[in-house]
Structures are given as structure tokens and as C-alpha cells.
């Protein structure tokens, strides 16, 4: 594949299930050697996009080229050029790790000896050599995921699809998988990964596409997206409901931003750019009018706020 050709090019991909559009015209271009994250909540269409781009699902409309091959005309060539890590670790639980890799290598039509050698390489590389003979049912979640990754790298595919690769993993398993993905990218692979976590996109991706309702709602680098969202949030929890309005007015004046009020949680939230300065300003302002906070926290925006923000922006601009 020529370096100038995008590794993934999709145009107007549509997929409908009954009355709902899983994909409502998805456009996507990923340059060779880059990591692109599809960020979105459950049901946004991320998995549908991955299943279409890996030939598992036929789109109702639209076209796509993966690794330079047309998805619909040459699915075999696409399959030979991609690796897929789905949401469930798609490995044989009964067999050992080594047996799994040899099996998948043989199904890639590697000769027996080459298949064994490749399996041993991959086991070594993913730190599974010691567990190679044990049945996969005895592996931890992180180990299973790594084996799953290894299984999709049998022929060192130039394009790799990772569908929520760390969902259900503990922090340690998550960082194991992240390290493995970084190593692949260092070797020149193109990666399309889906995730529900802003942090994961932040850790791994060069570019992020926020997916909502089956189409791209926003695109940019992780830094660009976070700037758009107004950075961190300061949460102030009050003691009484009748204090909320006054607190919101004071906080708006102190930060210059419009806060969101959650009456059920007795909470006022506001987006801030300089977290420490803003926190100090908020506390001083509350103190000046005699309001006492029950709790105060500084945190990253949640994915919900990302989507609220994006859909609000779309309403204004669209």
C-alpha cells in the first residue's frame, strides 16, 4: 500500500435495522500509520461501522476502501489485509494460547512450521509464553485480550480494527492492552479503535471522531476536542435546594461561564479552563455571600457532557 493512500476511506455508509439508522451516512478517512478513535456511547453506531469495514456486515448504502481494496468488490483482499479485535475475546476457550494462535495461523494458510514459529513469536511478544500451554479458560481478562490481539496479528496486517478493546478490563489489564497497541503503532500499523472512554482516545489516538446517532458529530485531535468542551468541570454541592439559584449566579460571575444546575443532587457544575484558579475563585465568591458548600470537586468532563455539548453546538450551527 502506498503511503499516500488512506488506509481507510469510507463514504456515506448506511445501515438500517427496522426503523432505526445504525449508521446514517458515515464518512471516515484514516491516513496510513495513524490511530483514529471512534468515540461514542452505546448504540452510537461504532460497532456497526467496524463490522462493515471488516466485511462482517454489508452496508445498505455507501462505499469504502480498506488497505486500498474495495470492500464490496474484493472482500477477500480486505480480509487478508486486516486484523479484528471484537468486543468479546474471540478465542477458543478450551484450547491453549499456543493452539489458538497456530489454529488461526493455519487458517491464514501459513505452512505448519511457519504457523508454529509465528505463534511462538507472538506469545513471546505479548508476554504469554509462560501460559502458552494452559487452556484459555484459565486466563485473566487482560491475558485473553492480549491473546485476542495476538490472534489478529498473525500476518502483521497493515490495518487493525479494535472494537472497545478494554471494555470490562481492570486498570492493569487496560494498561497492558494500551501498551500492546502502542507497540503495534510504533511498527507502522494503522489502527481504528472504538471506545466509550475519552481517556482511552486521549491515550492512544492521533485523531478522534465523535460518533452520535450513526454519523460523525465532531472530529479533531484529542486536544482540540477537549478545548472545544471547555476543559475541566468544577462541581459544587450545596446543603439546601433554596441556595442553588444564588450559588449559580455567584459561580457564573466568578468564572464567566454559565453553570448547569442539578436540583436532585443539589449540585452546580461549571466548565473552567484553569482548574486551580477557577476553584479558588469559586470558593472565595461563595464565601463572600455567606454560602457554605457541602462538597467541592474538580473533574474531567464526562462523556454525557461531551454529547450534550456536541448536540447543543449542532443545534446552533446546523
Amino acid at each position: 500500500m502506498h503511503m499516500d493512500t488512506p488506509a481507510i476511506e469510507a463514504e456515506g455508509l448506511r445501515k438500517r435495522y427496522g426503523d432505526t439508522d445504525a449508521l446514517a451516512g458515515l464518512d471516515l478517512t484514516v491516513a496510513a500509520g495513524r490511530v483514529c478513535a471512534l468515540l461514542g456511547p452505546n448504540g452510537a453506531g461504532k460497532t456497526t461501522a467496524v463490522r462493515i469495514l471488516t466485511t462482517l456486515l454489508r452496508p445498505d448504502a455507501g462505499r469504502a476502501r480498506v488497505a486500498g481494496h474495495d470492500l464490496l468488490r474484493h472482500p477477500d483482499r480486505v480480509r487478508a489485509a486486516i486484523g479484528l479485535v471484537g468486543q468479546h475475546a474471540a478465542v477458543d476457550e478450551v484450547l491453549g494460547g499456543r493452539q489458538n494462535l497456530v489454529l488461526f495461523a493455519r487458517l491464514h494458510h501459513l505452512p505448519r512450521r511457519a504457523a508454529r514459529a509465528r505463534a511462538d513469536d507472538l506469545l513471546e511478544r505479548f508476554g504469554l509464553a509462560d501460559a502458552a500451554g494452559r487452556p484459555v479458560s484459565t486466563y485473566s481478562g487482560g491475558m485473553r485480550r492480549r491473546l485476542d490481539l495476538a490472534a489478529s496479528l498473525i500476518v502483521a496486517p497493515p490495518v487493525l480494527f479494535l472494537d472497545e478493546p478494554t471494555t470490562g478490563l481492570d486498570p492493569r489489564g487496560r494498561s497492558e492492552v494500551w501498551d500492546a497497541v502502542r507497540a503495534l503503532v510504533a511498527d507502522g500499523a494503522t489502527v481504528l479503535l472504538t471506545t466509550q472512554y475519552l481517556e482511552e482516545a486521549d491515550q492512544l489516538a492521533d485523531t478522534v471522531r465523535v460518533i452520535a446517532a450513526g454519523r460523525v458529530a465532531a472530529a479533531g485531535t484529542p486536544a482540540q476536542l477537549k478545548d472545544d468542551l471547555g476543559g475541566d468541570r468544577v462541581d459544587v454541592v450545596l446543603h439546601r435546594a433554596d441556595e442553588l439559584d444564588r450559588a449559580a449566579t455567584v459561580i457564573a460571575a466568578a468564572t464567566g461561564a454559565a453553570p448547569a444546575v442539578d436540583p436532585a443532587a443539589l449540585r452546580v457544575s461549571v466548565a473552567v479552563t484553569e482548574r486551580v484558579t477557577a476553584l479558588a475563585a469559586v470558593l472565595r465568591a461563595l464565601d463572600a455571600v455567606g454560602l457554605r458548600a457541602a462538597d467541592v470537586a474538580v473533574r474531567r468532563p464526562t462523556l454525557d457532557e461531551v454529547f450534550l455539548h456536541l448536540t447543543d453546538t449542532q443545534k446552533v450551527t446546523g
Binding site: 466485511t55 456486515l57 478450551v94 487458517l107
Partner: protein, 270 residues
């Protein structure tokens, strides 16, 4: 690439991939010897139960030894039990995403089905060898020579082959490995509403008709005929044409369920 060079390569891959997947099933058995033993010995247990516990109370139409009558029925039941293995294997692969991994590989797509079929036939052939030995141990014999006996074994495996498509189809429809319980229960009414354990003449009229036309009954009757074991006799069409029906039923089941399961596999990409 010309289609001339492509066609033989495709065929070679289809065969090679089938062998790889058959080997995978053998690896499974090596990993789960206890499960394999239970599968092989369960029908033996049934022979002992029916042959010795119930056998004394059973009468064979036209006289004859009950165990000679029973064993061909148990051979066929062993083939029917195999449908559970086909179902469990395909449902587990589909539920765990292994089927999707196969579908994202540049392997021959047909091999997913043919590999399963080959593995299940090997497994059932092993089960049949155990049952033949068990039969010999409890006094069952074949009386019409090795060629006729081999033909009977062929009919049994033909029935098993037909049931593979039934198992694959059900697995792709239900997709839940736990639902194998439903099959484990259903094989019993199917087995008992046949001539495998008792003569259909001893049943109420409508049930007797059902039992006579049960595909399982055709294979059992044909085996009794070819092995030279006592049969249920009878002068119905089904009884008179057992061997023809023992070929026709599996072919019909295959003609229905093979296309259905291929269609189900295709629909995984909808």
C-alpha cells in the same frame, strides 16, 4: 489472476481449512477427555439399562432376543445424541465471537461447515465403534456377513450426517449454548416415538403411525434387516421399504437443512 488458476487453489484451501478445523475438534477432545468418555459411555449405560433392567419385560415381535432387537436401535440413538454435540459446538463459537473471527479471515467460508461436519462424523464413528464392541459384549451379532454390516454402518453415519445440518441450523437460530438442554430433552420423545426400543404395533394407532414414519425408525429397521437382527416385521410400506427410506430420509433432511444453515450463515452478515 485467471479463474483457471484460482479454482484449484480455492478447492485446495477448502480442503486444507476443513482439515485444520477437524484437527481443532480433535484437540478439543484431547483437552476434555472426561467429557469425551461420558459421551462415549452414555449409550453403553443405556444398553445395560434397557438390555438388562427393562429387557426381561420386553417382548420382541415374532420372538427373538431383546438385546439383538435393541442394539440397532441404540446405534441409531447414538447418532441422534450427536446432534447435541453439533449444536453445542456451533452455538458456542457463534456466541463467543469465534465464528466472526473465522469470517474475518481469508479462509474458505465453506470450511466452517465442512470442518464441523467432518469432526462430528469422526466423533460419531468413534461412538459407533464403542457401541459395536458393547453390542458384541452383550451378545448382539451380525448374521448377514461383513458387507451387509458395513452397509448398515454406512446408513447410520448417513443419518448422523443429515443431523449435523439440523444441529448447525438450530445453533444459528438459537445461538445460545445453554439451550442445548432443550435438545437433550427433545431427543427422548423422538427416540421413544420410534421402533428403537419397542415395536410400534404395541402403541396406540396414531402414535404407531408416527413411530413407523419417524426417520429414525427407517434407519433402525434397515440396520436390523442388514445385520439380520429380529425386527418389528409389520406389512406397512415403511416396514417393507426400510432400506430405501433409510437413504431417502437423511437425503431429505439434508436437502432441507443444509440450504437453511447456509442461509443462516449468510444472514450473519445482515
Amino acid at each position: 489472476m485467471s479463474s483457471l488458476s484460482l479454482a484449484p487453489r480455492r478447492l485446495r484451501w477448502a480442503v486444507a481449512d476443513t482439515l485444520v478445523l477437524t484437527g481443532r475438534a480433535l484437540d478439543h477432545w484431547a483437552r476434555q477427555p472426561a467429557q469425551v468418555m461420558v459421551g462415549l459411555l452414555f449409550p453403553v449405560l443405556l444398553v445395560l439399562m434397557f438390555g438388562y433392567l427393562f429387557g426381561g419385560a420386553m417382548s420382541v415381535p415374532g420372538g427373538g432376543d431383546y438385546r439383538e432387537f435393541l442394539l440397532p436401535g441404540m446405534f441409531a440413538m447414538t447418532m441422534v445424541f450427536g446432534v447435541e454435540a453439533s449444536y453445542a459446538a456451533v452455538a458456542t463459537d457463534t456466541a463467543r465471537g469465534v465464528t466472526d473471527r473465522f469470517r474475518s479471515l481469508p479462509m474458505a467460508r465453506s470450511a466452517v461447515v465442512t470442518g464441523r461436519a467432518a469432526a462430528d462424523l469422526v466423533n460419531s464413528a468413534a461412538g459407533l465403534v464403542v457401541m459395536l464392541a458393547c453390542g458384541a459384549a452383550v451378545g448382539w451379532r451380525w448374521h448377514h456377513g461383513a458387507a451387509a454390516a458395513a452397509a448398515a454402518v454406512g446408513l447410520l453415519l448417513l443419518l448422523r450426517l443429515a443431523l449435523i445440518w439440523v444441529g448447525i441450523h438450530l445453533a444459528l437460530v438459537l445461538r445460545r449454548p445453554e439451550s442445548v438442554m432443550v435438545l437433550q430433552i427433545l431427543v427422548w420423545p423422538v427416540g421413544f416415538t420410534s421402533n428403537a426400543f419397542v415395536a410400534p404395533e404395541s402403541m396406540p394407532g396414531w402414535l404407531a403411525a408416527l413411530a413407523q414414519w419417524n426417520p429414525l425408525s427407517a434407519t433402525v429397521a434397515a440396520c436390523r434387516e442388514l445385520f439380520g437382527n429380529p425386527g418389528w416385521g409389520g406389512d406397512s410400506f415403511a416396514a417393507q421399504h426400510a432400506v430405501i427410506l433409510a437413504v431417502a430420509w437423511p437425503l431429505l433432511l439434508t436437502a432441507v437443512f443444509l440450504p437453511l444453515s447456509v442461509r443462516r450463515y449468510r444472514r450473519l452478515s445482515r
